[in-house]
């Protein structure tokens, strides 16, 4: 009986947390696109678009994980590749933006020269991941639990490795070189997002730990929201601002 009550409490708690987390992701995406609309320069608009897409991507991942993945690993891997691409797009934009706010205009890791090659490697890795999973899904079925671990790992890891390597190398250098306090703040919140994302890795996937997992999701969503709000300085409209 008491275990039933505990289970019910955990379920309700998980539901509340996940609704708040998904709502926060949506709010983060809203502000990112809102700020993007107000900006005029392509590099900065792309950066805002990147934050918005990452926020939407994690909403997509959640619904995919809860609703789809137990049925179709291929869709899961495709969505994961898409979300990773959105993250990579953000990193690409942030590094380009960082150069503009560096008074010496330094090109971090020669990014302007190598970015198209890295994008090509990323796309190739994503396609390879999807092909491997599709092949194995064709052999043993599309249920996530039936796939060998190494296939699942490769199915999600190849393109992630590219993003992680570029992110770990380029973003800290960008943050150090940039004199734009808003970009630095944005990257700091993004770092928080990544920390919480990584912290969710070791947490067991059993229902008992669901509130922890979803609480980490909320923390990630909050970091993305703050990152979106740091895209540009926003001033409040006061009575003084209104035209007399």
């Amino acid at each position: 009986m008491s275990s039933d009550i505990l289970s019910l409490v955990l379920t309700v708690l998980s539901l509340i947390i996940v609704l708040v987390a998904e709502g926060t992701y949506s709010y983060a995406a809203y502000w990112a696109f809102n700020i993007r609309r107000a900006l005029a320069v392509r590099i900065y608009r792309n950066q805002a678009l990147g934050v918005g897409l990452v926020s939407l991507g994690f909403i997509l991942i959640f619904f995919d994980y809860v609703l789809v993945s137990s049925f179709n690993i291929v869709i899961f891997v495709v969505i994961q590749a898409l979300v990773t691409a959105m993250f990579f797009f953000f990193i690409d934009s942030a590094v380009l933006d960082g150069r503009m706010s560096d008074p010496l205009l330094r090109d971090t890791i020669h990014w302007r020269r190598i970015r198209l090659w890295v994008w090509a490697i990323f796309v190739a890795a994503s396609v390879a991941s999807i092909c491997i999973v599709v092949y194995y899904a064709g052999l043993i079925g599309r249920n996530l639990s039936l796939l060998p671990f190494w296939v699942s790992f490769i199915g999600s890891a190849l393109e992630v490795v590219v993003v992680v390597i570029v992110g770990i190398i380029a973003l800290p250098m960008t943050a150090v070189r940039s004199r734009d306090p808003y970009l630095r703040k944005q990257l700091a919140w993004l770092a928080g997002f990544v920390v919480f994302l990584a912290a969710g890795g070791p947490v067991p996937t059993s229902p008992t730990y669901a509130p922890v997992v979803f609480a980490l999701q909320f923390a990630m969503a909050f970091c993305l929201y703050k990152s979106a709000r740091s895209l540009a300085p926003l001033n409040k409209i006061s009575k003084e601002t209104e035209l007399k």
């Binding site: 809203y30 502000w31 809102n34 700020i35 609309r37 107000a38 900006l39 005029a40 320069v41 392509r42 590099i43 900065y44 608009r45 933006d97 503009m100 706010s101 008074p103 010496l104 205009l105 004199r179 734009d180 306090p181 808003y182 970009l183 540009a232 300085p233 926003l234 001033n235 409040k236 409209i237 601002t241 209104e242 035209l243 007399k244």
Partner: protein, 228 residues
């Protein structure tokens, strides 16, 4: 009529209309705003309209000329028919050495002397970088001396400054040096973000207390009075 002939179009009719026909001749104009809001676009349009009048235009930038041209094209500004005189990181007639103030000053003076018989327009995006790489006092002195030199000619200097990258004291001090200051900012109105423009000051123009909506369209910059 005499007063109107001393004003030079900004390159955008909507902005001219709130400035009583444009920037004053022999003035220095500062455009302040956060990154990405479109400050440089005002410089592009000003340069384009000046080139159309056969004025001598200097574009001093820390970027390469090709980067500026690419950015200008995003605002439908095309310098292919007439090009400014480039002081640029690369691709220009003179290389812009951001760490060498003396050379910058010398090069500008030399170019001004060679074109003293023409109206001269100088547009630059280097101010923020110079302030970040040098002591503010050094740049105040540098800019003051530059303005003294430039204003001997029929000239206008238009510079952009990044908001947020300098302390408020530095921005206030720079605003003091310039004859005109146009401020672009993003405001939060409920759940919306709106870009607003304000004329902080403009020599020869009565004070404009209000804020103005602005946006960039295919027709250029559209400015209208802000009403909440």
């Amino acid at each position: 009529m005499r007063l109107l002939s001393l004003l030079v179009s900004t390159g955008q009719p909507s902005l001219d209309s709130i400035l009583t026909d444009g920037y004053p001749e022999r003035s220095s104009i500062l455009i302040v705003g956060p990154p990405g809001i479109g400050k440089e676009a005002l410089g592009y349009w000003f340069t384009l309209s000046a080139l159309a009048r056969n004025d001598f235009c200097i574009y001093a930038t820390r970027l390469s000329a090709s980067e500026v041209l690419q950015d200008a094209r995003a605002f439908d500004v095309n310098f292919s028919h007439k090009v400014p005189f480039w002081f640029a990181n690369s691709g220009g007639q003179i290389k812009f050495e951001i760490n060498d103030l003396a050379k910058i000053s010398y090069n500008i003076k030399e170019v001004l002397k060679k074109n003293s018989d023409r109206k001269i327009r100088i547009v630059t995006d280097v101010l923020s970088s110079l302030l970040m790489l040098n002591q503010p006092e050094t740049i105040y002195k540098f800019m003051s001396q530059l303005f003294e030199e430039v204003k001997q000619y029929d000239s206008i200097v238009l510079a952009t400054l990044e908001e947020g990258m300098h302390s408020p004291n530095v921005i206030a001090a720079m605003q003091q040096l310039f004859d005109g200051v146009i401020e672009l900012k993003l405001y939060e109105e409920g759940l919306k973000v709106i870009p607003l423009l304000r004329i902080r000051k403009m020599r020869g123009t009565p004070p404009l207390p209000g804020y103005f909506n602005f946006s960039f369209t295919k027709n250029g910059m559209e400015v209208s009075a802000y009403v909440k």
